[in-house]
């Protein structure tokens, strides 16, 4: 079946099997491999992206469900001239990543958090990002990265 949507500001359209997941559509049809698959069961959050303004886990959505949607992936977060989003900068500056595999999903969840709450407390950050797992950092530096980004605006 044909699926069309706007990904990172670009209109895309592909013929796919109806069972194709959004994350497969991005990775396999569009070659956008920044969105990672961690657990396939919407537990780990590695595949988080922004769909119509909401952070969602793309491993448990069908591409067909996103017909006509606006999707922002990690590849579409920085400005077109390459200037990093403050959250991206925060993760880099504050050692908010180690292996980096969970990072794209973690950043996309943080984007939504700061949209809803530009000055979150330590506890609010921890609560908002509970749907994202990281096995490397022990989370402390991720909290600091989000705080750093919040302090930039």
């Amino acid at each position: 079946m044909k699926v069309s949507m706007t990904v990172n500001g670009v209109a895309v359209s592909h013929d796919v099997e109806p069972r194709t997941l959004l994350v497969q559509f991005l990775r396999e049809n569009l070659g956008l491999t920044g969105t990672h698959v961690g657990c396939d069961t919407s537990s780990c959050g590695a595949c988080t992206l922004i769909l119509n303004g909401e952070a969602v886990k793309s491993c448990s959505l069908l591409a067909a469900q996103c017909e006509g949607a606006e999707v922002t992936t990690i590849e579409g977060l920085a400005a077109s001239d390459g200037t990093l989003h403050p959250i991206q900068e925060g993760f880099r500056e504050k050692h908010g990543l180690q292996c980096g595999y969970c990072t794209p999903g973690m950043i996309m969840s943080s984007v939504q958090l700061l949209q809803r709450n530009p000055n979150p407390s330590d506890q609010e950050i921890r609560h908002a990002l509970e749907g994202n797992f990281c096995r490397c950092t022990g989370y402390d530096n991720i909290v600091k990265a989000v705080q750093w980004a919040a302090s930039q605006s």
Partner: protein, 797 residues
Amino acid sequence: METGKSLAHDSAEIQVTGAALYTDDTVTNAGELVVGFVGSPVAHGVLKRIDLSSLYRIPGFVAAFTWQDIPGVNLFGPVIADEPFLVKDVCEYVGQPIVVLAAENASALRKARPQVQIEVEEETPWLTISQALKQNSFLGTPREIKRGDFEGAWRKADHQIEGVFYSNGQEQFYLESQAVITHPGEGNEILIQASTQNPTELQEVVAHMLGIGFNEVVCSCRRMGGAFGGKETQAALPALMAALVTKKTGRSARIAYDKDTDMHVTGKRHPFRSEYQAAVDKEGNLLGLKVELHSNGGAYTDLSLAIMERALLHVDNAYFIKNITLRGQVCKTHLPPNTAFRGFGGPQGMAVIENLMEDIAAKLRRDPYEIRSQNCYGNSPRDSTPYGQRVESRLPQILNQIHESSDYKTRLEKIGQFNETSLTHLRGISLTPMKFGISFTATFLNQANALINILKDGSIQVSTGGTEMGQGLTVKIRQIVAEELGVPSEQVKYMTTSTEKNHNTSPTAASAGTDLNGMAAANACQAIRARLAEFAAELFADTQVGLSKSPEAIEFSEGKVWDRRCPEKQVTFGELALQAYRNRVNLGERGFYRTPGVGFNQFTGKGSPFHYYTTGACVAEVEIDRFTGQWKLERADLLLDIGHSINPGIDRGQIVGGFVQGLGWVSMEELRYQEDGKLLSCSPTSYKIPNFGDLPKDLRIELYENPAPNGSIRKSKAVGEPPLMLALAAFAAVKQALGHISPGKIVPLAIPATSEEVLRCMTWLEDPEAAWGLTNSEIPLISKPGQSHTNMAEKVA
């Protein structure tokens, strides 16, 4: 100075934009096949028949392979080659690969899987240590480390404390599951692109399996999405599968496990059963200790013997024990071969004695800190380990410092008052030390080589056998190279790890990645720098102004080069490189390093296996809900001596990350198996790793200022594994909190101290008659569906 800076992670810039490529992110080659497998349906059984006949009707299905298709050897293993790649006759764990499948796409592969008909005659499996002990089923021979006269000490002891302590398994849970891509080359050549800590091992096992020379295989790894030991040996199976497909079809092949498959078929941290007897005097001095350790090795040897060795070498942790007998043996069971996981047996060994310290304190009704402190290693003769290596560390000072800085004494008193008054909660605090030996205990692995290439623009490439799994090895090595050559770190690039550039490399493991590869890289830099100094000296020499040629006077700093005696005349490092090239100066070098002075005799149990120890301590305070057994880590103070850190930002990340992983092991991560050997906790929906909410409210990290660190490269110390073991403080704190229920009674608690375990333990302490199930045991197996109902019905009846 480039070292000592908290530079961002090497690939941070591309990791935050999604441009960093993990194995399965790389672009698909034309004609590339998707690879999967069908594994054993049972934990133990005889393979009777494989029927592949209905596969070939599936559109897009390409090929299926069994053991009969293997051109070379069907056995592999890092130490002992006892693990079959594809089952020939006996299945030894659920999911063990029997048939490798290749298809044009994932959809065809999915359709093919259920069409594989496998007939197995099921036999009774044994899965736990106790079951294996009944079967007398072991891997390898027992190991022993012995000093003094334990029996004598035991007879004379004022207090004899004995018991059995269990620490259970843990899943590595790297976020990126196992992934490998293979490509055909000319003739017999094969290229492997893998998420592996050990490219050299993949090169070798694939060559063996294909019956070709090691020199026909190149294995590379750009980065891993986490590994934690889980990709030290266990990337071998997926690599073998993809390589067999490439060999047979002449096409590129890709295999990427999904999380469930990964958790089902890969090995984990070893569960341990430790039977101990401790001889203690009136004052609480540990005069003698005997421990009999058994680990659950799973079906094949893998790294189990080395892990048992490290466990034995860490039972002493920070304590001097004059009379000691330690014995260890690995049990063979019908689980996937258990393997490396951060700490490599060290945590299991240390847990035994930290548990015992709590028991001694409970029995003597003393503050456990005093017991720990008075038994701690100190000056000669109290500085000798059971295996004879001297402990050069500042453990007493570290204990003292954290005791003060954490305000332990006041908090202990407050907790006592809290527990007197609270009817709903219990609190506990504990201070545990940590001493972790750095080096591979297999001495030959303590070597590394590095390749430095300086290009004509002065940019530098460094390649080593070290692999990047998030630990920050690559940025640290760039910093080391930059400092050696006097250029900014940005001028140095860490190249993809490949067996083509660095051969016979050791796995990136044992916390020794930066020590070994950093030293090899520094050695190479020093050789090039000497040649460049010689050349620059000639360049700057000017007899007219009386400047003689003097290589010793050449300075390399901040990307500039000059003669100290004439600093106004400078060239950039790039200009010098170009000039040197034109004058035919060799701008490449291989460095080599072997750790000096290490050696351990596994037969006598004596030697100095470690180059040095990384030490530290932790104070943890916990609060337990008396109704549910749920507990929270309220505050943790961490103090580590990691010498002069090459990158404090990276190292702090390692400390918190390791600590939280350890916290997962001691508190919530619970592997549950069905009695037929099937793992039930096979995804994050049923297996809980620490989350944001599990971070302690108050987390304080300090680096111990050691005036004379005895570390390795640039006086830094290894930091990868050690912080994991600091989490034992949280476990000890839970034991202490529970101790308030029935003072003087030893608290039977196993790792992990899950809510259920804590609740069982609380109930038992209050009224042993009311307790259900066993506390401090191996995690019990779960009945198969259907059978559990029958059991319940019988019980009710």
